[in-house]
């Protein structure tokens, strides 16, 4: 397909408003975008398959048809490729039978060669084709069984089933993480455009033409990329499925918790999809300013270890803190609330205590998609809260007699560098996992993992984002790190909003914010440059 597809222009808060006529009624819509987005902004949903707001427009599904008044009369146009122009006249199915029929016809054609195996399809419940069918189709089939289906698929993968029907390829192994069901594919081209334009590594292609088109990798190549699981998100049907989630759970049984991935300082917005106390999958959550709709495989698959190797909760009245100097080290996944509690703790300990934050891992380069490369997720927050970098602590480690780490696995991150820390007599670890630091600690106190707590973080773009607690905590007695620390400091913070209020006292950049005022897509802090 052509490489000349252009990215769609999305409306922003600053978009100029223009007046257009939808079904002869004047409405004000964003003027610098396409018709599909403009109609969406005024609450008119247009069914579409191939269009994706963060992928170049290819306009091949022909599902988003609307009628436009033009010099040659009313013409059917695709909403995703038609720019908004002031005064344009648009007709939707609400007033135009022609649009309604055209969408219905497209829907019918799309289902002609699509296997109706929704009961065993992993995408059922979140399938664009199903959604469009409820909106635009709902037609009784007019086909006779004699007409048959011409299933899409690589001739090498096709087989003849028990009824004598030639079937397309099933569970074709594309690479280490993705499986392809060729006959379910509707040739929307999204995965191809994702790999070409977003991942920047053209690994997928549409081979063949007409109704023998099928998706494939290049001969002898595999689909293998840090972002390859995103093709399973963009796939509107059940053609691309992720091996880790395939047949694990019906999607309508999953509950979704919106939160932030705390393994990178970009803070990719994610959904934690969970059911019966377990996370089943992690999906990217759309945030145009941060990770758009993308998520790296590392962030996506990290959940598999969230409930393994956990530290138990222990009841600690007070810590055996000696006289000398005390280092309080916060790990990269500490929320603003944890940092506020640490500052309270420092104040309660007096002058001998110092605050550090960060990790011993190397900072990488941003990949321009959904990772900044910095493993310390809340690094910006640490700066706002007055935490020195952990490298400072490593230089002066011999000065300290007590070390308190909060979700900072210094020994696990770089055992050689951290070796010197063993000279510190009293090492107290607050950690979600029974990691190397916890095992070497004098006292190891289990706390909740970031996926199980409420809180906030400031990402590398200086956007403060909100974490929500996913109800998957393996042990009800576990408490969030800020609760444990603030209790030790003698003033237990009972909730995330109380802890956040404490954080606003310490960090001037957060002044005026409350926990509840932060939207799900975050808020840009002043002085930041998103």
């Amino acid at each position: 397909m052509s490489n000349y597809y252009n990215m769609p222009k999305l409306p922003t808060e600053n978009s100029p408003k223009v007046e257009i006529f939808v079904d002869d009624k004047p409405v004000m819509v964003p003027g610098d975008t396409n018709l599909l987005e403009a109609l969406k902004a005024v609450g008119i949903e247009t069914p579409h398959v191939c269009y994706h707001p963060f992928l170049p427009v290819s306009g091949n599904c022909r599902q988003c048809l609307v009628e436009q008044e033009g010099p040659r009369g009313r013409m059917l146009v695709i909403a995703c490729y038609t720019p908004v122009a002031p005064g344009m006249k648009i007709y939707t199915p609400a007033s135009s039978a022609r649009v309604k029929n055209a969408r219905k016809a497209t829907q019918e054609f799309m289902l002609v060669n699509h296997p109706l195996d929704c009961p065993i399809c992993d995408k059922a419940g979140e399938c664009t084709l199903q959604e469009n069918y409820m909106e635009a189709g709902q037609n009784e089939s007019r086909m006779r069984p004699e007409y048959g289906k011409n299933y899409h698929g690589n001739p090498e993968h096709q087989f003849i089933d028990a009824k004598g029907q030639v079937r397309g390829g099933k569970h074709v192994d594309l690479g280490p993480r993705v499986l392809l069901d060729e006959e379910r594919c509707v040739q929307c081209d999204r995965c191809v455009r994702f790999m070409r334009s977003i991942a920047g590594s053209e690994q997928l292609q549409l081979a063949g033409r007409a109704d023998h088109t099928y998706i494939t990798t290049f001969p002898g190549e595999k689909l293998d990329h840090e972002y390859d699981l995103c093709v399973t998100d963009v796939c509107p049907v059940g053609a691309m499925t992720a091996k880790y989630f395939r047949f694990q759970k019906r999607v309508w049984l999953l509950s979704h918790t919106p939160t932030i991935s705390m393994d990178d300082s970009l803070g990719a917005n994610i959904w934690l999809d969970h059911a019966d106390g377990h996370i089943y999958r992690v999906m990217p959550r759309c945030n145009p300013e941060v990770n758009r709709s993308w998520l790296s495989n590392t962030s996506r698959l990290a959940f598999q270890n969230f409930d393994k190797n956990r530290l138990p909760a222990i009841d600690v009245e007070s810590l055996p803190i000696g006289k000398g100097k005390i280092a309080l080290v916060a790990g990269g996944s500490c929320t603003m609330e944890d940092l506020a509690a640490l500052r309270m703790f420092k104040e309660s300990l007096g002058d001998g205590a110092e605050l550090f934050g960060g990790s011993l891992l190397k900072v990488g380069a941003p990949d321009g998609i959904a990772k900044s490369g910095d493993p310390v997720a809340n690094r910006s927050g640490m700066k706002l809260m007055g935490f020195a970098d952990v490298s400072e602590f490593m230089k002066r480690a011999s000065e300290f007699e007590t070390l308190v780490t909060v979700n900072a696995d210094l020994f696990g991150e770089d055992a050689a560098v951290a070796k010197d820390l063993e000279k510190i007599n009293c090492r107290i670890a607050l950690s979600a996992f029974d990691d190397a630091t916890a095992r070497k600690a004098t006292i190891a106190i289990g706390v909740r993992h970031w996926s199980e707590v409420q809180g906030t973080m400031v990402n590398s773009l200086n956007i403060i984002q909100k974490l929500n607690a996913c109800p998957v905590c393996p042990d009800e007695n576990l408490e969030a790190a800020y609760e444990v620390i603030s209790e030790l400091a003698g003033n237990k913070l009972e909730s995330a909003s109380a802890a956040f209020a404490k954080a606003t006292e310490y960090a001037s950049a957060l002044a005026g914010l409350t926990y509840d005022s932060i939207k799900s897509t975050g808020k840009l802090l002043e002085g930041g440059n998103a």
Binding site: G59, C61, Q63, L76, A105, M110, Y147, N150, D211, H212
Partner: protein, 435 residues
């Protein structure tokens, strides 16, 4: 048959493949002081006055197409010659290039001067090997004679022509698909706008013209544009090279003025219908609606008359069908062709053409049912104006018109199925209700 002026086919059979013969026949006379003294606007005005319309099928006025090409975009202007010729029944470009390649080169030099172009590409169907050989030989001769290359005829004008062999996809005759193919991408039509005149090959202004259109230019320049316009109808000037095939005595390539009556073409040029009585004529290639014998009797071969009869002039490829043929067989043949040639981009075309072909196959195999024809007509309604390019209409149009005009042929085939009245689903069948 009155003697007609021949524009494109005048050198047929005279050995004009050789540059010396071509020059003796008056060739390359245009490439002179006179051409290089004309301004671009003068030349485009010349072509506009000649009323020359694109000969590829759509019939867009050539002068107007040229005037859309931006002059000061800072990018090179490319001329692309569409010699893909994939439409069923069309074989004129093939002959034109084989018999008179130098006329194409001369026409291209004129077009290049008009558009300020530095390079032209002849996108030729890969299977036309003798034709490509002929063109390449002519190109070598033209380079040697100084008509192509650097500083043509001692002027500062430089111009090169390249021959590109396509791989034979029908859709690569669509101009944006052709450009994609030329660039080395998959031959699939692009979303428009931008149109190729603004952003075509390598994102530069590109003018895509048919072989015959370009080959008419030397004559127009040699004579007066009004003389060319005079030959045709008021809205389309000149002569047209017709390809007549099917059930006629002398199938072949014939040049005649636009507006010639259809029956004159069939009876006088092609020697009349053989094997039976006239049943139908496809006036402009396989994708147009057929005319019945009665309609053919009053039709004239020009853009307006055929458009008023709800068919199209297309590439001027007349396919004559006698009454021994069943139209369903023909339509099945088209279904096979278009469902195979769909590029696979747009949903209606990708899935719909294949479905129509399967339905036609069943009817031909004697397994048709009552209601199949109505369903096909209804499905074709879903093709109209909803796809990127008109390939879906190329099958949808014939299906609608064949079924409307020759319904008896379909009923005859469907009646061969003993179960043709069987309903689609059992009367008692209802989808289960679970909720």
């Amino acid at each position: 048959m009155a003697e007609v002026v021949k524009v494109c086919t005048q050198n047929f059979g005279k050995g004009a493949q050789d540059i010396e013969v071509y020059k003796k026949l008056g060739g390359y006379a245009n490439i002179s002081e006179r051409l290089f003294n004309m301004s671009q606007f003068e030349l485009i005005d010349y072509v506009q006055r000649s009323n020359l319309r694109g000969r590829g099928g759509a019939g867009f006025p050539t002068g107007m197409k040229w005037s859309f090409v931006p002059r000061n975009s800072g990018k090179p202007v490319y001329i692309v010659v569409n010699a893909d010729e994939g439409e069923g029944g069309t074989f004129k470009d093939h002959f034109l290039m084989m018999e008179d390649p130098h006329r194409l080169i001369e026409g291209l030099i004129i077009a290049a001067w008009a558009l300020g172009s530095r390079a032209a590409y002849i996108y030729c169907r890969g299977e036309f090997l003798p034709c490509i050989e002929s063109i390449n030989k002519a190109l070598n001769q033209a380079y040697a004679a100084g008509y192509l290359g650097e500083n043509i005829m001692g002027t500062k004008f430089c111009f090169d022509i390249f021959v590109h062999r396509g791989a034979g996809a029908y859709i690569c005759g669509e101009e944006t698909a052709l450009i994609n193919s030329l660039e080395g991408q998959k031959g699939q039509p692009r979303l428009k706008p931008p149109f190729p005149a603004v952003s075509g090959a390598w994102k530069s202004p590109t003018c895509v013209n048919n072989v015959e259109t370009i080959m008419a230019l030397p004559w127009i320049l040699q004579h007066d544009p009004s003389e060319y316009a005079k030959m045709g109808t008021p809205r389309a000037g000149g002569t047209k090279v017709f390809c007549i095939s099917g059930d006629v005595k002398n199938p072949g390539v014939y040049e005649a003025p636009l507006g010639t009556p259809m029956m004159t073409m069939i009876n006088e040029y092609a020697g009349g219908v053989v094997g039976g009585k006239l049943k139908a004529v496809l006036p402009g290639g396989s994708s147009c609606a057929p005319l019945t014998a009665e309609e053919a009797a009053v039709a004239t071969m020009d853009y307006e008359c055929l458009a008023s009869m709800k068919t199209m002039f297309g590439s001027g490829a007349m396919i004559v069908i006698n009454d021994t043929h069943n139209m369903v067989d023909l339509l099945n043949c088209l279904g096979n062709f278009y469902s195979h040639e769909s590029c696979g981009q747009c949903t209606p075309c990708r899935e719909g053409t294949g479905l129509l072909h399967r339905m036609l196959n069943l009817i031909v195999a004697g397994k048709g049912h009552d209601g199949d024809v109505e369903l096909m007509q209804s499905l074709c309604g879903g093709f109209g104006g909803v796809t990127i390019c008109p390939l879906s209409i190329s099958l949808g149009g014939p299906v609608s018109s064949y079924t409307a005009k020759f319904r008896a042929d379909f009923d005859e085939y469907i009646a061969k199925n003993p179960d043709h009245a069987k309903p689609r689903v059992q009367e008692t069948y209802r989808p289960g209700i679970f909720w």
